[in-house]
């Protein structure tokens, strides 16, 4: 019996192949349902292009009469913009649609169904849905980065690429953990949809170099909401300016964030009493 249970619920055993198979099914179903609204996707595409134009416009206002802001020149600040755009695209594609769903699951009591499934609940909740229109944003971000490589005359070599990849993956993990943290609090407060909105507005700051803020705000954005780690360090790596300890620190922060968000979810589940009980 004990063995059978283990097989059904998969507790303790993570079978990567099974999870991969389930994930392809997730992709298939959510893409199919999203493609129902084709004009929507088109409008979202225009929105993300306009949004990028708007932020570059804002940046150009800042640099109208100044050569550098917080030690960053316009061409360098564009890198931050590119990385922000990629991360924002990832947020819109994966984090936002899924994690706002948690709120719905808890309010309507459908989290029960998720917990009953023989699959890890965090996996299910974090990856069930996908919004394809975010892909264009990711693509736009990469194009901007390629352009930045050209205008900043960056030489690409193997160590540059690995370091950049490491830092950007860390950023994605931190970002995910932040979203997941906030969404998990729903178990106690039921409606934290607006809390994600607060997070969103704070993350907006990630578009600008951290050094352009006053010292107290820099501390705030490094410690409480680690925007410094999310966009500034990858951009510094991109320019070849980052010190090694900063990268190590980012890796460390990422591990702490991922680990504690997992623990927090398992802790929160103990407090979950389903809708009608």
């Amino acid at each position: 019996m004990g063995f059978g249970n283990k097989k059904i619920y998969g507790h303790g055993i993570m079978n990567p192949r099974k999870y991969l198979r389930v994930y392809t099914k997730f992709l298939h179903t959510s893409l199919a349902s999203e493609l129902e609204y084709k004009t929507n996707i088109l409008i979202d595409l225009i929105t993300s292009i306009l949004s990028l134009i708007g932020s570059i416009f804002l940046l150009s206002i800042f640099f109208q009469n100044n050569k550098s802001i917080g030690g960053w020149e316009f061409e360098q600040a564009l890198i931050i913009q590119g990385i922000y755009t990629i991360l924002n695209g990832i947020t819109n594609t994966w984090f936002n649609p899924n994690l706002t769903e948690i709120v719905k699951h808890i309010r309507e009591g459908t989290l029960d169904f998720v917990l009953l499934k023989p699959i890890d609940s965090q996996f299910y909740i974090s990856l069930k849905k996908i919004t394809p229109s975010g892909f264009l944003e990711i693509l736009l971000g990469f194009c901007l980065l390629l352009y930045c490589i050209k205008i900043n005359q960056i030489t690409i070599n193997f160590s540059f690429l690995t370091l950049f990849l490491i830092t950007i993956i860390c950023s994605i993990c931190i970002l995910y953990s932040l979203w997941f943290f906030i969404s998990t609090t729903t178990i106690w407060f039921v409606k934290t949809w607006n809390a994600t909105e607060v997070l969103r507005s704070f993350l907006y700051i990630g578009r600008f170099p951290l050094n352009s803020f006053t010292f107290s705000l820099q501390i705030f954005f490094s410690v409480f909401i680690p925007i410094a780690f999310i966009t500034t360090i990858p951009s510094e790596v991109f320019l070849g300016l980052s010190q090694f300890w900063k990268i190590m620190l980012e890796v460390f922060v990422t591990i702490v964030f991922l680990f504690s968000s997992r623990k927090f979810w398992l802790f929160a589940l103990k407090f979950y009493s389903s809708a009608s009980s």
Binding site: Y37, T39, N40, I43, D44, I46, T47, L50, S51, G54, S55, F57, L58, S60, I61, F62, Q64, N65, N66, I69, G70, F189, K191, W193, N194, A195, E197, V198, R200, S201, Y204, I205, F208, S212, F213, T214, L217
Partner: protein, 264 residues
């Protein structure tokens, strides 16, 4: 008699929506916090002395961004999201039967939310003045009155634009993506992130013909005591309202004719 009936309708609606909104105090507080982007922008502006070339002092700029925050707080509109949800869930049909335009209901909802939001906005302003005591000022009654009107007009313009978009739900079901598209120029051109005076000439030459600078920049300049054309601003706002209202009426009439209730 008719106007009396109308008044009592509005009053009841407001009362109902206000008690409804009081249920969601924490949410509204969070909403208020999520609007603090102008303060971060202020930090970038003053910390890098970007305002020197504009001939605006730090104090005036900080007042501008505080006012921008206030104007934004009291002109946030989300009618398209409410209407979309109601129309997908099939709640619009019972609303249509009632002898009351559903948009009046949403309108009351917004006003009630603004009243609930007011204390939270004041608390945030209080903290702002603790950190920036030198920017404390008291606007005179006249400007205060005018800027409340200007803010209300800004709210009305946005409410009308979003209501027109919301009516698209009759045709496409998901109208909120159109709203998200329109939000981008609102965000960047309204003066929430940078005052319109700082814009380059090639934008300034046409921007005053669009409704955007009258949404935040004009009321915020008015309230903070920065230079602005009061008569021109107010008349442009009124002009836009006069222009948008018949469009809304028309789209609403077309939409309700097109509407087929759930399941029919």
């Amino acid at each position: 008699m008719i106007s009396n009936l109308f008044k009592s309708k509005i009053f009841t609606l407001l009362k109902v929506q206000y008690s409804n909104m009081m249920e969601y105090r924490v949410e509204i507080a969070l909403w208020a916090i999520s609007g603090i982007i102008p303060f971060f922008m202020l930090n970038i502006w003053t910390n890098n002395n970007l305002n020197e070339s504009l001939n605006i002092s730090d104090v005036m700029l900080s007042r501008y961004f505080l006012c921008a925050f206030f104007v934004r707080q009291f002109s946030v509109v989300w009618v398209v999201f409410s209407f979309e949800e109601d129309s997908i869930l099939g709640k619009v049909s019972p609303y249509l039967i009632q002898p009351l335009n559903p948009f009046l209901r949403y309108f009351a909802q917004h006003i009630a939310e603004q009243i609930t939001r007011f204390p939270f906005a004041l608390i945030i302003a209080f903290f702002f003045f603790i950190f920036n005591p030198e920017s404390l000022w008291i606007p005179n009654i006249g400007t205060l009155f005018l800027s409340i009107i200007a803010t209300f007009f800004s709210f009305l313009i946005q409410f009308l634009i979003q209501s027109i978009i919301a009516c698209l739900c009759f045709w496409t079901e998901k109208a909120s993506s159109v709203e998200r598209l329109l939000f981008i120029p609102t965000l960047f051109l309204s003066g929430l992130l940078a005052p319109v005076v700082s814009f380059p000439e090639y934008v300034k030459s046409w921007i005053y013909l669009t409704p955007f600078p009258y949404l935040i920049d004009f009321p915020a300049n008015l309230l903070s005591g920065n230079a602005t054309n009061i008569n021109g601003g107010l008349s442009m706002q009124i002009l836009w309202i006069i222009l948008l209202f018949p469009i809304f009426k028309k789209v609403w009439a077309l939409g309700t004719r097109k509407y087929t209730a759930m399941g029919s």
